[in-house]
């Protein structure tokens, strides 16, 4: 066999494994990124959608944030204007988390209708820009 052909085999092997790793990686670790309305739609269409790892992007509802520092539990509501969900998060929220930011909540929607978050990312307008004066 010519070296070029052999090399082609090796190349196919590498490209194939890159492809396989990517496909399986996406299948195993991909998470839906939904708004609360989309989540509500999905859940009503397909009840098995509970307890599935997902991300929800929404605004924190002003005045709903309560922190229990002793147990490090944070609870708040998120909304996209039409549908809102309660969120419970055990852990330390990021510095930029307040009751008026946009957040990305990573976690699972349980049957009690509460999103149990494993991670909360606060998206300030931008890290590099000052907070606009309200």
């Amino acid at each position: 066999m010519k070296a070029g052909t052999k090399f082609a085999f090796g190349a196919v092997l590498i490209v194939g494994s890159v492809g396989y790793l990517m496909a399986s990686g996406i299948k195993q670790t991909g998470q839906y990124f939904l708004t609360p309305s989309e989540l509500a739609q999905r859940v009503s269409a397909d009840p098995s959608f509970y307890d599935l790892g997902l991300k929800v992007g929404a605004h924190v509802v002003r005045g709903t944030v309560s922190k229990d520092v002793a147990t490090q539990t944070l609870s708040f509501h998120i909304t996209d204007g039409t549908v809102s969900y309660p969120v419970v998060f055990k852990g330390l929220p990021p510095d930029t988390f307040t009751d008026s930011v946009e957040v990305v909540v990573e976690g699972r929607l349980q049957h009690d209708g509460v999103i149990h978050a494993t991670n909360v990312l606060a998206k300030c307008g931008s890290r590099y820009e000052a907070v606009p004066k309200a």
Binding site: I14, A122, E129
Partner: protein, 678 residues
Amino acid sequence: MALLGTLSLWVAFLVGLWGAITGFVGGAQGRADLQQSARHATFALFAALLVAVISLEIGIFRHDFSLEYVAAYTSRNLPTFYLWSALYAGQKGSLLFWASVLSFFAMLVQVMTSGRHRVYLPYVAAVTCTVATFFITVMLFAANPFQRMPFVPMDGSGMNPQLQNPGMVFHPPMLYLGYISITIPFAFAISALLTKRLDSDWLVAIRKWTLVSWLFLSIGLLIGMWWAYVELGWGGYWAWDPVENAALLPWLVMTAFLHSVMIQEKRGMLKKWNLALILGAWLLSIFGTFLTRSGVIASVHSFTESPVGYFFAWFLLLAAAASIALYVTRLPLLEAEATLESMVSREASFLFNNLLFIGIAFSVLWGTLFPILSEAFKGTKVTVGPPFFNQVNVPLGLGLLALTGIGPLIAWRRASIPNLKRQFAVPLTSGVFVLLILLVAGIRDVGALMAVSIGGFVLATVIQEFARGARARHRQYGEPTVLALFQLLARNRRRYGGYIVHVAIVLLFVAFAGMSFKTETEATLRPGESAELMGRDGHLYTFTHLGISQYNTLNRYVTAALIEVKRDGKPIGRVRTEKRQHVDALGNKTFEPSTAVGIMSGLRVDLYIVLAGLVNGTEQAVFRFTINPLVWWVWFGGFVLVIGGLIVLWPGGGPPPGTGPRQPRSQAGYAVKLEAVR
């Protein structure tokens, strides 16, 4: 200052346009007067942009809040150190910074390029002027750093506290320098395509530039990691955030190029591939800028959404279309002079190395864009995060690490069996030996086992190369060992500097593997109370909360907790960890509170302590304690990498390969190139 600034931007705009036109026309028609004019345009461009930069800095230092940019990113109480960095703390200023640095490089390349590479210069001037003009256009029509405020505020909004960190003073310029300097190799590539001078000449002309880009990108990435680690407080240094990925992509492609270019120099192969890598690296650098500025991908790092994104999207599309069209028309001129002779050859191992680099780059790009792609093609947004990137890139990275050792051991063209035996015996034994030690030590994490044992293999190959090289010099010239090692390095900077970079890569991989052994706990402690955490280094760490102090300093209120740390019951020191509330000159709060992590760094583990907050204003406080193994080695590995890169880059050291007639190739990979006695 605003007037002078805007004026100089307009001058720069016109000069840039002129340089682009005269460069292209002068190059195409071979008119020396126009070519000369294009060359001078780069000088004028730099001068005009320098005036703009100085105007902005004067505005910043004078606290001229009639400038919107100054008011938005600085305040009267901002420490002087950070006033300098305010130049690139915001979108508009960073565009100005970018254009100015590019014009500086554009001028430098005109002045420094000599000899027969000068034929490329008119088009190089044209391309650099075009790119700079694009950035100036964005400033003039969408993001003018000299825009005035409708009124003059008493004080500015101040700089985001997360940017008030020494790392942030150096990280952006380093990364930008890397990004921007890729434009020079790109300009040479375009020039080579246009002039049809597609032999290896242009590669020689850009050798130093590609190394400079690679080195700056590396430094930028490393400082960025350090900044994320000490400032963001989530406990790690790399999160596969889109912005981080955007910086990693050109680095991966440049690294692939630095390897594959050697095949073209030695064997005249891979011409198409090398050109494509340079074009790709530059397009990725513009793509990265687009990604961070357009808000298309939700990232905690991104600038706010702005029309700037559209400018970049169009520029990217046009530049990609033009480069690809030009590339395709020149494909017939890019035929290889030789073919692959054997799978077991240096060429083949470099080819696989390149495939892996590009595979990694592709998966990172794909993962970064996946939310957009899945929404466009499947209607639902699906995101992937660190688990995806780790799952894909750990195996690919380990394969690459193995090739780091294998490549230098295999001869060019075709390796013989006895040659392979002689080359691989010691390194393979070393790798297996390391593996056995780790297994006996009770480590069962597959990724870490592989990383460290392959690392041992690679380290052994490098030591073997140095030892053989030094011995050969010792025999040949009778040099004592230390001198021989030094001479070896000095005479073959590219090769042995490259090996030092390989050592750095091993250190980095081992350090990365260490992160899979981190341990973490959160605790709410009153003064005098302690939390315990077992580190994976086998020691029990006790953290005792000694108390809270609060005070004002410079531009912030600080809440600091003092923690006493004991290892196995013996005190080893105290760590301060802070929460900072930044304020303006009137004492009003600005921004959200930020974290200043308390870190006790050691060779084996870092103790990483975050103060999350106080319970109802009492001294009872919430902490997160993390024990991060081997983080120190990331910074040390980075340091070694930069040293290795500098050795390769250092001028002199004999005629660079490729300038003379092609060197006869030695059969065995280890043989030293012996200098002719001059």
